[in-house]
Symmetry: C2
Subunit: 275 residues, 2 copies
């Protein structure tokens, strides 16, 4: 059961001409006012983050889940229970993402542009690295990013790989996919390897069937993208994995971002670069 | 109040001729039999780890403390409550380190070679990366490691830098120091940067006073080392930081390793190498 609540603003803002040039604060203000778009390509040069907020009682299980699955769940920041800002995110975590998903007992009960009404004082919010962060370095290295070219959401898939469980949490690895020209796959590995905190190197290159993905044209989250002749599908671990764990493990309550609709942080992407 | 309990074995084994050539299992067997030595230089090529075991009730606070202080507290593994082995450590965590420190309300009440009697079923054990792990790559790069040359423990110091607190845990950053010839300091940075999971690049190079260290000749943990003419003291974040937090925050109970007397894991040091 999924239900789209209309944005709080009666006339949501239109998408900006050049979203890459927005500052994080400007982008968050648009989302707070109701703009509902995937954030790939927004505020170029700033790290983006996945959100998963869980009751305090589940926070240890989740932090352990993240420690045991660092490729998919690299933790960038953790709030104190009930806090609505984070050290890397100066906005309001309940309103400043473009869209949220609310889960009760593992079922998505709502998708909304404003999570204020659903927020609880016992929620601990985790900000998890997002691969949108390394798309600026990819573009700078001349590697095409198809979903930015087409202005769509990245394609994401549940895989047949299980995460290492922790406490009450378990579930499958989720991946994002980008089609890369064969001659540039090595460059894509090299560039993204330098950003382990935002998923780092790919987890799989080539045959989607080996990950249990039957049809690349039907992603589980986001939009399909065209794969041109001579391109290879390249798969990176994805920060929607915590939400897949929520769906698989059915904790009492959780709030996540709508996949692809990220928290834009105040931290430069280069902060997460390793030599 | 500190008290050295005699080792369980009536005649503890003598240190081996060439400790670098021991396998992790062989080294652990010697420690289990009562050999009480610093582990720097043991089982070359295998990662070593700091131990901090805390009651389940404090596990989230500590995991959050580690997430907020990743340079000093890089988490390599976490056990389930009461478990005595870990996925990276096939031994018995209560007996297979050379020595342990037991803390009650933040006071060290005992130092022992066997923590079995003090162990509790509600303890969660955290294995934290140790800089001994990158000493093999340092030696391979021709960088001298003084405390291996002299067969002593590494010098460790409490600093005036406070860690970012988490829940009930706070305390100072602890560092280890190695004197490095000026011409090789850049190499030491380059080599150790590739091992962020075992403290990575130095946190400070040069003047100890800037870290609040008054006298390098009097380390807070381990042994002093001689600094030769032309050498610079180089400081790395140290996995004794969790124990300094225990001493500063006085949780009800904790068990740590004796500084420098590490858990030798079954994981190759190269596993933690980044490009």
């Amino acid at each position: 059961m999924s239900q789209l609540i209309p944005p709080t603003s009666p006339t949501p803002p239109v998408p900006p001409e050049d979203p890459a040039r927005l500052s994080p604060g400007e982008a968050r203000a648009l989302f707070r006012a109701g703009l509902r778009v995937p954030t790939s390509g927004y505020a170029a040069g700033y790290a983006q983050a996945n959100l998963i907020a869980l009751p305090r009682d589940l926070a240890f299980d989740f932090l352990l889940f993240a420690q045991r699955n660092p490729k998919s769940c690299p933790v960038l920041d953790v709030t104190e229970p009930g806090e609505t800002a984070a050290s890397i995110f100066a906005g309001d975590i309940r309103t400043d993402l473009p869209a949220y998903r609310i889960y009760v007992n593992g079922e998505q009960v709502e998708e909304t542009t404003d999570a204020t009404a659903a927020w609880r004082d016992d929620l601990v919010a985790f900000l998890i690295g997002c691969s949108f962060t390394f798309e600026t370095p990819m573009l700078e290295a001349g590697i095409p990013v198809r979903h930015i070219e087409t202005g769509t959401n990245v394609a994401m898939y549940r895989t047949n790989r299980q995460c290492r469980p922790a406490g009450r949490l378990s579930g499958p690895l989720v991946v994002s996919m980008r089609p890369i020209p064969a001659a540039q796959v090595a460059d894509a590995v090299r560039v993204t390897s330098r950003y382990p905190a935002v998923h780092g190197a790919p987890v799989h290159i080539g045959d989607p069937a080996a990950l249990g993905i039957a049809d690349l044209g039907r992603p589980d989250f986001g939009d399909p993208v065209e794969i041109h002749p001579g391109e290879i599908p390249v798969f990176w671990a994805c920060g929607v994995t915590p939400q897949a764990a929520v769906m698989a493990s059915a904790p009492e309550f959780a709030i996540g971002h709508a996949p692809g609709h990220m928290a834009i942080t105040d931290v430069r992407d280069t902060t997460y670069q390793v030599p």
